[in-house]
Symmetry: C2
Subunit: 732 residues, 2 copies
């Protein structure tokens, strides 16, 4: 690709960006779209914009950018949680390291590539891009030591920055742990794999076990039963009452109360409950198999100890884990038998691998597009169009990335499905698993397959086949710069703009309002899609490192992406997305590992390049660097990783004592009784009555329901708080 | 190699075996060698043979074989511990699976290889060995499905056997845990990474921390100081008193008492202690840095909880692990700063890898020997000798393995050194680490490098290079059968005989007795060298699986090896080696993983072979098999592995309660006070007096000493029990 084609591509994207950003700065001021652009603010801060027609509303303004940049880390932490801060630090890290790389590579390395001795230069705009890559350096060049030194500087600074960021996030995680308002999850253990006993009920089994083996810290427990008839009845009733009057209620808080008073099962008065076939319900609950149980402990330390230990000699029974936060619970999976999980995980791993491999087919086809001669053969009707020089540049420089991007849009839902089928019990675990899958997917399909299906590999294959992987990568990377730069432009810049515009949200809002004529649903606010955005940023970091020394022309484009991303994501985290749950910074270790992987890959590629250019000194010097990075990674693992896997006992004990001293513990224990509600459509007292009618023994119940996932619509947190159904067993 | 050469080789080895075994059955009856052949019995059971000259003593007899085979698993467990049982189970597993393989392969597959259509057969003794391998099967043969079916049967049966064995060992481990006499290690946590504080002493820091954060279960603690002047003085004194009179004492128990009464420092009367420079000692102890501490808990459960948790927010401080058994303590490493360990581990990993790679050089040279034309070039003076056909067969069939064997003798000490430098705090951990290193070493250097340096690979390299690894392995395996069979004969059979004969022990015994004229040292009895024997058996299992279907001729030789090994190792475990410590079956997961690796490798190789023979159906059918094995492995990991990593809380709590109920707990707590003795040359009361002279505060001490490793001579368990130095801090 020529420079001019690159400029065309860049021009299109800059145009799109300016257009989208201007549009956004107008649209965000329109009251009609306030739901789309200020979801979090409305839901959490109850702030609304005045509706008034003033000219100001239709003039693009950059004030939101200033706001996004100015807000402090504390504000982000308060508004969007530690995960948002960790994500923000990924962007800050990228900006820092790639600013340095850009300065070093553009001023130190690019001239070496361009001003090769005895070379005839064309006019700058018709130069081929590879003139600016390492492939333009002579074999046995004396200047390769510059590459080597720059590689050392970048790797060293990256390590220092990584260390500082890791330490920072680890500190924040500890602060987060301490500062948080009492989190029921810290006192609660989710028990799975409860063995069947024939005589007694499951609930008394759980009670007996923990009374016997965790005597001093056990408080009470709450059993989760498998979804059964009760749940079906309830779901049916809920649907019915949803149909009764979907349009009368206007505000969030009223809407659910309306349902409550209309419907007999979703929590009505005690009189109306008499309508239910009580005996059947009770009978049913006893017949159901016990799926899991929440066990509540007196102290955080007690829960930590119970969750950390292997309980019995059968590792598949009495499996204890710290329970997720109540909002984080993914109820649909809780009834899965624990014995199934390992095979589910393997099946989903296999599924993901097969999916990744099959996805290679479209990617390969797309890469073929960038070779125009193949395109002529495959799509002969395009011949006329492609003869125009402008179209030619558009097709080779831009089209492949766009097609790839469209294909890529189908991936996150599929990965999310795989992660759901794995059987996690929390939304955050599910999202984290999807994030990891997406990351592998992108690195594999965008980075490696793009390289493998690129042009240079074909030439290599025919001529010399005994080369190492390092050498292969080394020869391919400079050739694929074109693709990577356009990928940054399309997938990076353009998708940021579309993220800012919330295209899907806008369209959906429009359809709901004007076509379906549904009432505005202010209660549903999406959570931040870490599983798509973290892998995206990580992929760009990988591209940045691996191209930095060899093809530095990509760096300015990348740097612009990270700056834009910094602004856009901060804005979105503050205004659009809502924090329903928080992993406490668990995305950072994923990011850290990816950066380490990128650095090592970069060094391996450079080793190959130096080998190809027959510079044994430079090649030799990269080996200790690889070793150094791996040692550094091990250091970070020993130093910080344990904090991301468990909680330090000392801090938890201190918190427990502080709460006991101040008398807050009683209050916390009381709060635990209503913390976890499996089925959000009923109230405590009502259902307890149903059950005690059938049986006087104070028995625990709970009903699993296929709770709607976070992306679904009608039910959400607030209504769940009002209408709930805990059914606890008190320690008598 | 021809069949006749193989028979020569086998003949030599059978002769050697018969000779050695007959010699052994005579020598074991000689009173002069009773120390060599009945070390464990003498040391533990105090049984001695009558010394009488009867003819029976000079007639070989097979009674010991009967004894070795007859003894039950309980007897082995009692005499040599759970590790010995696990090792025994590895041999039993091998015998079972390879008996089946031998039957299937010799009667099902070997005829298919030999009776190829349209083939002219020579006389059987001059047939080349490769006639019996899969390389003699025609391309596109219809008979490859037999190979595939046999592979399925072997893999399936291996999985069933593996599962049963794993379950058996896991059960025994639990029983071992419960049945064991109260083990101080279960009540004790080894704390490392104690942070420095300027004001108070290290001991009070430890006391404060555990009193504060493990209030209910903390009992008392004992601090380990870094080796300092005290230790130097003591070592000096010990040496001096050793020189005083090394020859007077005749029996084990007397010998050490003699020293006790002679020497002022190794535990004398209180009067003689006044000779010591008390002030200096005390001063010194305070100046020393605190290295580690033993913290004792009231219950096993308390110790388990304390060892499992992350104590503080700094993962490098207050690191707690369950302490090894007292006999298992490796005192020399205990003073290593915990912060160093991770880098030590990396350095040793790197060291091992470099060592493994450098070792390739002699192996390659040896493999070259089996190609005679190269030998002629390199060692021209041998030409005359090599022309004799007998010598020719000897050199090609036997010499390479012998040379390799001699080189291999140097490896275990080096690997042990690497493992020691890693900084483990127990002998068993050190041995396990060395075992793992040896295993990787053998698999890499004997299996893979032998294959890579073999003849066939050279031909491959020149002709076709784009083949997969599977295909490469597939084409090399049948060609290397010669080497593998002779390796089984030399390294397997012969080394078993030398193990039985205890050649080193015999020679050393002879030198001590008749040349150095030293007194007989009955106290030193070696422990079983798991780090050399487990990898050896595992390597043979790998050879067995990978050759079974492709070159079944190796199986009878291998089967003989496993039968001989079964007899020899049981005999040695019962009579020669002593159990000083026990990992509780932790070698089994290593064995399990190696078998899984062998199975998968076999299947990959078969996949390659079927591909080479152009049988897509057979090749296709091996892929689900690989997947099945990996799923099975994952199942075993989830089902059994947690039991080998920690102890189940339920069982420990039950044991604690049982002990409390029966009043044994008091007794156990009392025993803890003298359980761990860092410096074995002094008595409690004596040194406590020294210290309280200098400072009235009840201060803890201990002195690290470079305690002799188990292979060393003078000090051993028994004397350590008599003369000891605990210096404990009681909880006031």
């Amino acid at each position: 690709m020529k420079i001019s084609a690159l400029l065309t591509s860049a021009g299109i994207n800059i145009g799109l960006c300016v257009l989208f950003w201007s549009l956004y700065s107008i649209l965000r001021k329109q009251p009609a779209f306030v739901k789309v652009y200020f979801g979090r603010r409305i839901a959490e801060e109850r702030r609304l914009l005045r509706e008034a027609f003033i000219l100001e509303r239709f003039v693009p303004s950059p004030s939101w950018i200033v706001q996004a940049v100015k807000c402090t880390e504390e504000e982000i932490l308060a508004a969007a949680g530690l995960d948002a801060v960790a994500f923000n630090r990924m962007l800050v890290f990228s900006i820092r390291i790639f600013s340095l790389s850009a300065i070093l590579c553009l001023f130190g390395i690019l001239p070496l590539h361009y001003f090769r001795r005895n070379m005839h230069h064309l006019e700058i705009h018709s130069e081929q891009l590879h003139i600016f890559t390492v492939s333009n350096v002579e074999v046995k060049s004396r200047w390769l030591w510059v590459h080597c030194v720059v590689l050392y500087i970048i790797s060293g600074v990256a390590c220092i920055l990584l260390y500082l960021e890791y330490r920072h996030i680890a500190r924040l995680r500890l602060l987060h742990l301490k500062r948080a308002t009492p989190n029921p999850g810290q006192f609660t253990v989710l028990v799975r794999g409860i063995p069947k006993t024939t005589k007694e009920s499951c609930s008394s089994d759980v009670g007996d076990f923990f009374t016997k083996y965790h005597t001093s810290s056990y408080l009470f427990h709450q059993v989760v039963y498998k979804a059964g008839k009760v749940q079906k009845i309830m779901t049916g009733a809920k649907k019915a009452c949803g149909k009764l009057d979907p349009s009368t209620d206007t505000t969030l808080d009223q809407s659910c109360k309306v349902i409550t008073y209309r419907c007999c099962l979703c929590g009505a008065s005690s009189n109306s409950l008499q309508l239910l076939p009580n005996d059947e319900v009770v009978q049913n609950i006893y017949n159901e198999e016990c799926a899991a149980a929440f066990v509540f402990f007196k102290t955080r330390y007690g829960a930590l100890v119970a969750s950390d230990l292997l309980q019995t000699s059968n590792p598949m029974e009495w499996v204890t884990d710290l329970a997720p936060e109540p909002n984080d619970m993914y109820w649909s999976n809780i009834w899965l038998p624990y014995k199934q999980l390992w095979i589910r995980r393997i099946a989903m791993l296999l599924g993901s691998i097969v999916f990744m491999i099959l996805f290679v087919l479209p990617v390969t086809f797309i890469q073929g597009l960038s070779q125009l001669d193949q395109l002529h053969q495959k799509l002969p009707f395009l011949n006329g169009v492609l003869k125009k020089p402008y179209m030619f540049e558009l097709v080779t420089g831009y089209l492949p990335s766009v097609i790839l991007l469209i294909f890529l849009y189908t991936v996150p839902p599929i990965m999310m499905l795989f992660s759901t089928l794995e059987g996690p019990t929390s939304h955050s675990e599910r999202k984290k698993s999807a994030c990891r899958k997406m990351l592998y997917f992108l690195i594999w399909n965008v980075f490696f397959v793009s390289l493998a299906s690129g042009t240079v590999i074909n030439q290599l294959n025919s001529s010399s086949t005994t080369k190492d992987i390092a050498v292969r990568l080394a020869s391919v990377i400079p050739g694929q710069t074109t693709f990577f730069i356009t990928y940054v432009l399309t997938s990076g810049w353009a998708s940021l703009s579309s993220e800012l515009m919330q295209l899907f949200g806008l369209i959906w809002n429009f359809i709901r309002k004007y076509i379906l004529r549904m009432k505005e649903d202010t209660t549903f606010v999406p959570t931040f899609p870490y599983h798509t955005e973290v892998p995206k940023v990580m992929l760009f970091i990988l591209l940045g490192f691996s191209c930095s020394v060899l093809a530095p022309l990509i760096l300015p484009f990348l740097l612009v992406y990270f700056f834009l991303g910094y602004v856009v994501y901060r804005n979105q985290l503050l205004n659009v997305y809502r924090m329903r749950y928080d992993t406490g910074g668990l995305y950072w270790p994923i990011a850290h590992n990816t950066v380490i992987f990128s650095l090592v890959l970069t060094q391996i590629i450079c080793f190959g390049v130096f080998g190809l250019k027959r510079s044994p000194v430079a090649a030799g010097f990269t080996i200790p660097l690889i070793f150094f990075i791996l040692v550094f990674n091990q250091y970070c693992r020993t130093q910080f990783l344990p904090l991301f896997k468990t909680f330090p006992a000392k801090d938890l004990i201190d918190m427990d004592r502080e709460d006991e001293r101040s008398g807050r513990m009683e209050h916390i224990h009381h709060g635990l009784r209503s913390a976890y509600r499996q089925f959000p459509g009923t109230e405590d007292i009502k259902l307890e009555k149903i059950l005690t009618v059938g049986n006087d023994e104070d028995q625990d119940e709970g009903h699993s329901s296929s709770e709607p996932t976070e992306e679904e619509t009608c039910q959400d947190k607030e209504p769940r708080r009002d209408l709930s159904h805990p059914t606890l067993k008190r320690l008598s």
